[in-house]
Structure formats: C-alpha cells, structure tokens
Assembly symmetry: D2
Homo-oligomer: 344 residues x 4
C-alpha cells in the first residue's frame, strides 16, 4: 500500500481526500497535519469516526519517510515553504494551493501580490490538469493541482483554443457552491446570508483564477492568439459544484458538428470527460460527487445563418475534480497506477 | 376600499398578490378564481388561514361589478379570451400572462407559436414596466405586466439603451429561483432534483422573454440600433429571486462616472430602483421580499485603458417586482393611488 | 406618527423590526444603535437601500425624547443596564432579550449563570406573550418579549395547562431555522456545515428557554400542577421558522373534540392564532413570514380506546412572532393601537 | 466478478446502488429494469454518463442466469410477484420493498391493506438488519432489506430492548430528507413547497414503519415486553439523511455509564456503527454519504437524581444504510465477501 500525508487536512478538501483515499485500493492515510488542531484527533474536528491524530507541519517534515506522497492543502503563500521542505526531502508532492500553478513568477506576483520565494521549483512543477498534460505528469515529483474554476473553464474550452477556433473575447459566467470558500467562519458564508441568495463577486477582472485560464488557453494554440477573459464568479446556495456558462466566438463556417468532432477527438477515451449530446447542457447534477467534467455545446442562435457564437457549459465538483479527486488522479498518473483508482 | 378579483389565484403569484393586497391600505380581495379548485376554499390549497371561496372564470365574468380591477394570473394563450371578456365588461384588467406584452402579433406568433385572437387589444394594452412607461399607464384599462426576466434586464440596461450607449451584442446570464416555474408538479422542479443543482435551460436564443428585451431596449433609442441578445437562464436552488449578470459594450470614452450619472438621472426619485455604489454588485438578497430592482455597474477590466466593456448586475424578486408587486404598482399608477401603497 | 428607537439594530431581529415598522401605518424609525457599527449607515451592514445612521447606546440614552418606544435587541446580560437606563428616562421599553422574562431572579441566575442587577424591574416587567397576558400589557412601560421556542410551546399548550389537562411529562421536539442563532460568525452556522444537515443541540434539560415554559405553563392552572419539560431543539437547514412537535398526556376520557373546543374557546377571535382542522399538522409554511402561530391537534393513536396521548404541533416564524412581530404587537397593545397594525 | 440485476433501477435507490456497485471490487452491473423506461438508456433518465440499457421485468425474468443477485427496488405490493418469480429461478434476491419485512402476514395486511400473495416466502425471507441478524443472513437466498426509519430506530434502541431496559412508551421524532419520498412528481415534494419548510406527516400511529419497530424491538427481549411506539416523521429540506430523536424510559438505577457499556458490547467491532462520546448527539452530517449509523446517548435531565429518562439520537443516510448500502452489505454477508466491500 502507498501512504499519503496530507498537510492542512482539516479543510473540506482534506476531508474529501481522506474519503477518496479510503476508497482507493492502493493508497492509505499516513499522517495528517493541522497547525491549528495539532494534538487533537480528526474526529474532534469533523463529524466522523476517523480518529487519526493531527500533527503539525514541523513534525511532518521529519516523517516524510513514512509516506509516498504529500498532498498539500495549505493556503496560498504558506505553501511555498512547505513545498520547498517536502521537495528537498525527496518525497512526491501534490500541491493544491495556487503557489506553483503559474509558470511565470511575475504573473504570480501580479495576481497574488507577493514575491515567489522558490521560483526554481515553479519551473520544476507540472501543472496537473490531467487530461491536457498527462504525458508531462508521468513520474513528476512536484505537481501543482489546478484551481477549481479554471479546471471547468480550461477543460471546457481547450479543444477550441488548441484548434485556433477560440475568439479573442471569452465571457465566463461561473456559479459555485459555498464549499469553494473553504472551511472558515465569515459572515458572507453564514447559512442565513448565503441561503436564498445569489451573489456575484470579484467582478471586473479581479479573480486570480483568470491567470490559469490565460496560461492554459493562451498557450494552447502555440501562443499565437491572446484571449481576453471576462470572468464573473457567483456564490450560489449549494454545498458543492461549479457550473461555468461560457460565451465564445468561433470562425465563420465552423459548424456545431465540426466542434463536436473536435471535442470527441480531443477527449476520446477520457474516463472523466462527459461530452453531452446536442441540445443538452451541463448541470451541477452531472458531476456532483464525481471526478468528472461534463461539457455541453450549443450554438447561441440556431436561427442565424452565421452561427459563429456558441455557449459552452461545463460543470465539475469543486471539491473533487476541482481539488481532491484531481489530486488523486495526478498521483495515479505520476506513479503509474490505474488513473481511475479510487475515483469511480 | 377598492376591490380586486384575481383569476388564476392558486399559483405562487396569486398567493403573493393576496399577501400584498392584505397590506394595501386601499385594496381588498373581491373574488378569486381557479378552474381546477373552484368550489374549494383557498386554505385547502395553501397552508394559510385565508378561507376565501374559489370560483371559476365563468362565474367571475358575471361578477365584474363587484371588483375594481381584475388581476389575471392565467397561463399564456388562456389569457387572451379572459382579457377579452373582462375588458368588454369595462373592468380594469392587469394581465400577468405574456399574451398582451408584445405589440406586434407576428412577433407573438413567432415566439409563442399561436395566433393572437384579440390583436385589437394588443394595440390597446400598455406594457406595465412602471419606471419606463409611467405616463402611459395613468388611467389605462388594460395593462400587460412584464415578464420576470425582462424586468431585471430592461431596468438594468434601459438607461444605456436610451442614450445609445448599448452595444450590439448583449450577453445576459440570468439565475432564477424555482418559483419562476410556477406551482405545478414536474420532475425537474422536485426538491431532490433542483436542490444542490444548477441547470442552464433554453440555451440558444430559445427563451420567449427575449422578445420583451428586443421590444423595450430595441425601441429605447428611437429604434436606431438593433441589439442581439444572448440570454441564458439558469435554475438555481432557492425559492425566489432573479439575478441577471449582463455583459455590454459601451462606446470608447464613456467612463464609469458618466454611466453612473446617466443611471442616476434616469432613475432619480424612483422608489423601487436601488442603484448600488461603485464596486458593489446586485445580489438576490438586495431585493428578495421587496418590489425593488437593485442595479450594480462595474467596468469589466479596470486595468485596461479603454474600459469599454461593463458588467451590469440587476436583481429582483421574481414573484414581486417580477409579478405581483409590479401588478399592484401598475394598479396604483393606473388609478392614481400612491404608487408605493401596499409595497413598502 | 409614533417613533421607534431600536437598540442592537443590526441583527436579524433588528432588520425584521425595521421591515415591519415600514409597513406600520402609525410607526416610523427614530434612531438605530449598534455598538460595533456606530458611525456607519445601515445600508453598509445589510443589502438594503435603508441609509439610516447607526449610533451607539450612549448617544441613544440622550435621545429618548425623540422616540415613543425603544425596542431592545441586545444580547442577554447586556440588556439589563440598557433597560434600566431607558426605563429611568421614562420611555416605553420592549426588551427582546431574556433578561426580564423570568419573574424569579433566582431562576434567572440558575439558567443564565449571572446575578440580575435590576431585580426591581423584573417585578415591574410584563411578559409579552400577547394572547395570554393581553390585559396586563395595556399601558405597560416595560415589556419582556418572549423567547422564540417558548412562544411556540406556550401558545401550543396553554389551553391544556390552564384546564388542568396537561400531564406531568411534556416532551417537546423543536426544529428551528438557522436565523435563530443570530447574525454572528460561527462554524456551526456556516452554510456548508448547516446545509444538508440536522443537528440536535442542548440535549438534556440544558436549553434556557425551558424556564419560560415552566413559568407560563406551570402557573397556568394556578400552579397546582408541575410539569417536567423534556425539550430538544434541532438546527435544520432553513432560514426561518420553528416547528414544535409536542407529546402530551391528557386525562382519560378527554376526547379530541373536547380539546378542540377548549382551544377554540381560549383562542376565539385571536387574529394571530391559526387552529388547524382535525388531521392537519402545523408546518413552517403555515406561518413563515407572518406573525401567526399555527396549532395542530392529533391523538397519538386513534386506534386505541383510551386515546390519552396527543401530539400537538405548533409553528411560528422565529423572527416575527418569535421576535419582531410580537414586539410590535406588544407595542400596539401597550399604547392602544389596532393590535394587528403593521402585522397583516 | 459477481453480477447484479437491479429491478426498478430508475429511482434514487437504484441510482445509489449503481454508484456503490461501481466502487465494489467484486460486483458489477448486469441488467437494469424499469417498466416505464424500458427501451431507453439510463443516461436518458439521470444526469450521468452511464449508458446502460433499461429492460422490463418480463425480460429480466428470462435473464436470471446472467446475474448472481437481483436487487428489487419496486414499490411495495408490486414486489411480491417479482420476488416469487426471481426466487423460483433460484437467483439470490434482496428485496428493498416492504413486502417481505414482516413475518406475520396478518400484520402485513393490517398495515399495508392488502393480502400477502406469497406468505410461504415471508417465512423464508430473512430480515436484513445486518448488525442484529448477521448470522441468519449468511447464505440466505431471500433477504428483506429494512425500511429507512426503522433502521435508525432499531439500531438506536436494540441494545436497550434486548437488555430489557427499554420502557413501555417509546417516543420517536424523526426527520427525513426529501429523497425518502422517492423519485416521483408530487406537489408536496416540489422544491418551493419543501424548501424553507418543515412538515410533520402520518402523525398518530399511522406510519407503516412502526410495524418493523414492533417486530424487531418487541422480540428483542424474548417478547417479554411490549412497547408502544409514538412515531412522528417530519419532512425537512435536505436531499438525504434521517435523524431520529428518541425519548425512552429506563429502569431506576441504570446509569449512563452502564448504558454506554451495553451499547459498546452490543456493537463491538461493528464497522458501520458509530457510537458517539458522552455529550455528543448524532447529526445527519455524521452519516450522510456513508453506510454508517451514528448513535448518541444523553440523560434527559442530568440534574435529577433518578435520571431514568434518556434521549437517544440516531442518524443514517436514508439512501445508503437505509437502502442501497445495507442491500450491498446484506449481499456481502450472504455470499461471504468482506462485509465492507464497496461501502468504505
């Protein structure tokens, strides 16, 4: 059995990771860290019988020989130091923070407002959007797990971008369940505030996840085309799930059928991509509780002769494909296990 | 006291209308109709102590002398005959169906798929979007109450359209609570199906409410500019509320400040328009349970020198400003009562 | 117009009070206090256009001449001093905290763990459960607004208790929406924690609201019978509403019909009591958004010959009848206005 | 690999069963039936990529040789004939309806209002409450899967009943998510009706699940004591989960510690029983998405010297331990697989 350490295990992603590891035939829990709750047991933090002890990061650095992989679920900025220390110990690291997702440390600084302290590992890290970069992930020691919103957007638009069919302006309207905000207390996420409410936030090119869209989709066609992403996330009253409704322009003459063929080719054999039939849109129910991404493709106005605008819908479970599930998938790929192990 | 008849009183809009009438200092309930439940009492249909008798439409036609106004909450197509009959009796009619909203009966046929049987009353009917057409509503005998989605979109964009500042392509991403689907049984709207889910629907220029956007915003600038509306409604798990997030282009050189001034001028003194300060977005909580429309205005990318793209957010309560409340507001205007009576 | 000051106006009850006052034909908002937010405006704290200034308590003490009544929405313990100061100024006070609900300061100390600092006002204060103590409230200068759970329980069981028909052991299973916990940040009440969950709390004679049940129901029959209340509150995922399902024993020979007659007599003409017909249970939907209490009465086992056990269900809106609405009702009674003013 | 046929596969339990089978290392889907949807594919009925063909029951009877077990998810009454036919073919049957749960066909007739058509199989069927009847399930050809409510109640009270410590009157207040009503259209279960609502139903000894409580707990102590169950189920706005709050009397002198020891002994080594520490109550979050039952034990009034009343709380996921999960657990036991296979 492979063993997994989880750093920052007492958030929602940590909880989901443990759930997936329990279902994984080759993986089991090694140690768990929580700076705030070190010394307690996991079942004192969550309503579960799992009585794992919680240790702190400093102890974990001394126990890397007990695990085959460390999943890091720390806040961005805090992850840099931890990745550096675990990496130096030679253990495989899958980082779920934003710290190693962006190749360009200047871009990192622009969006996150701080200097990157380990730029050499930024170059080393592989961006773990499995379906797009699988070959680079094989054997990787350091994998940066993608953000939740960008996973839905990048999987939903990559075939278009790679083919050079994605227009300059891309409008993305995303809706996310409240678990996306993490397990912390904040008036905005209190039940009565979020329930029976819908709230747009970070409007006006202000959400950091745009950087990952620019990095992935901008490079998809050899960097020949830039894109302008107008991205509006919304907080909606459900626990989990992301739906991205995206408005794109394609070149004149590109038909719905040719787009469908393009996606079918790009995603042939992918176990976690669910391409929906014509006329069907992705909904959160398509993917909640799973590691899948569902994608729907619909012409914006079927009556117009030049149907050059499309609505692409993509949904994922933000905690699984947008976090814990993709992390496990990345591990499976990195070490050569069945990619779907623990993820059915 | 004025008396109101309500036809089709056992849907959600009917229930809300009665609630508002109970709070209205000058209005009280006359008769209520329900084809399916005639002979029963209202408290057998809803969990409420209101023991009003339910009659059928045929009886109501004979009792127009008992009421000062009839609010029609019938399905579209069924409303045509009822409007004709009540109108012929000389009673004031506020029709909450779609049947008399569109001035052009060909447009009606295109979107609703049926011939209009009383085109002469289409011409007669006033479109009751109070803030935009108040002067035409004064004394009107027949008022077509606007659709819920178009109320949020048209109030949110009208100042831009009227000023000629609204670009050709308008992208509208709307989210609605489940009461928008009406009080009927349907698997899609069952609790377990809708809860913890988000579902886009009628994607691809297929929602009939687009016709009202074209009619109002297309004509706002003297019909000089056409607009192409790309409208995607989503079903989200809350009882009530609509949020529309809209992506628009404005002419180069138009600043956020000038747009704010434009809105402030257009809506000066409006009791039910809530213009939000810079940096604030409309949320469902801004308007739930009220007759207000909240509007937020934000440049799409504040870093770009030519900030010619904007994100406009607008929210309403679909059952009140998008239905019962606007109907009462229309009545207040039509007969010269305080416009806010019953609506605080 | 009468004017109302609200102390502690930025909680959920404060928000609801303002809403009700806006609908009240004789009452309007004077000043609002918030210790934390003094100096800000109300619309910076809630998503609303109400731009009232927020002052602090010390300023409010100096402005009692501007208002006819002060509604106190402060936490228990903090309310004692404020009541004392406002009362000394001669202004009418309706206190929504627990501080003046219990007649016996020893009982207060036992349940709340602190000494009562103004016992003389405890004796002075009237317990504002309107339907039961209306005559005592007329003209009262200090009214203690009842707790939310006890309002449902006491209204639901009072006729039985008064008639001497309520058995010794009373089991009360209550469920409350999350707004009952107040507007504060706490992990338990975060959306993801409370949504899709049900949590019993304060199990085992530990909820302070039991004291109000003992006080009201214990005294109902001249204090001849004591009762033992086994009360279990549950947190359920809805914004507002309380449902109490109560299991009671009645003397042999007491029939359902006689119980129904008893309730009908006790509550004859009550505008806010909704007695449900046989076979119907109170649900939250019966009272949400209203000042009503709905009551259902059902024999526990209709097949048994000696049907001496009954299930009584009672629901209220915790923020209205369990808080703001009953406070307004108390004010209406105290000063001789129409008891239902602002509460339709 | 073992193969499973599922009859009535297009309800919520069918969906969950398929999910669990996909995670089961030894089990895979054979055929699926749906009388209404035969000829369609599963992915046309649910938002999922599973493209299994749906056949009808008559076809399934001819294909018993393709499967090792049939899980029957048919409505009660319809299950009798199907069980008879599958049983006659010699295939193992796990029936999730109520038809074979009650040993006494007269009791069945009393509660379900119809004659049992295959009483001989009633005698044959084993009641599949795994933790209590494991030894009888080994090798069983016909297992009746317990009802959801009784699973929570019987697991929660069995140790007391078996020890003869359970008093005569047992009061059970249960709350269930809406999926308990099945996947059918009904106004009561529409989103807007069930959301923001709580509704007691079947009050007054009218829920059929009482029969299973009487059968299991009544026999636990050798039938020496009868019990009177006062059971009130409530519909609460969540998708899944049951919480039962139970009020019981125990003999004088029985301490909390001795009750805890009793439960610990009874459930020693049980992989799916989660006994909670003192002072902790079962919540839906303890068991949602799992096959576990969580149990909390608390004295009703810790201040009383003779603490002879207890509050027992028990939660399960109604679709898993209350349906699909227990069905898989039963299969695992019956054929000698690891009891937890597919259920971690």
């Amino acid at each position: 059995m492979h063993k997994a350490g989880i750093a920052g295990a007492t958030g929602y992603i940590g909880y989901e990771l443990i759930t997936l590891i329990h279902r994984h035939p080759e993986l089991e829990v090694g140690w768990l860290t929580s700076e705030r709750n070190a010394g307690k047991r996991f079942d004192q933090i969550f309503s579960t019988p799992w009585d794992y002890s919680l240790i702190n990061l400093e102890s974990a650095y001394l126990r890397t020989d007990e695990v085959d992989v460390v999943f890091l679920c720390l806040p961005h900025a805090e992850s840099m130091e931890a990745v550096k220390r675990f990496y130096a110990e030679g253990v495989r690291v899958i980082d779920l923070s934003a710290d190693f997702r962006l190749k360009d440390v200047d871009v990192y600084k622009r969006w996150y407002g701080i200097d990157h302290t380990v730029p050499e590992l930024c170059a080393e890290a592989r961006y773990g959007l499995c379906e797009l970069y699988r070959s680079e992930l094989d054997g990787a020691q350091l994998i940066a797990n993608p953000g939740c919103y960008p996973t839905s957007v990048n999987l939903g638009l990559y075939p278009l971008a790679k083919a050079g069919w994605l227009g300059e302006r891309v409008i993305i309207d995303s809706m996310s369940g409240v678990s996306g905000a993490g397990r912390k207390t904040n008036l905005t996420y209190q039940f009565v505030e979020a329930n029976e409410n819908i709230t747009p936030y970070n409007v006006g090119h202000r959400h950091r996840h745009i950087a990952e869209m620019e990095q992935v989709l901008g490079a998809a066609n050899g960097g020949k085309r830039g894109h302008r992403f107008l991205f509006t996330p919304h907080l909606v009253p459900l626990n989990r799930g992301i739906l991205s409704t995206m408005y794109v322009d394609v070149p004149a003459g590109v038909t719905e059928e040719s787009i469908r063929e393009l996606y079918a080719e790009n995603y042939a054999g992918e176990p976690f991509i669910h391409l929906l039939p014509a006329g069907t849109q992705a909904s959160v129910a398509h993917t909640a509780g799973t590691n899948r991404c569902a994608i729907g493709i619909t012409p914006a106005d079927p009556l117009l002769p030049d149907g050059s605008e499309y609505v692409i819908t993509a949904s994922i479970d933000n905690l699984i494909k947008g976090g814990s599930g993709q992390a496990v998938q990345n591990y499976n790929i990195a070490v050569g296990l069945d990619e779907t192990a623990g993820l059915q």
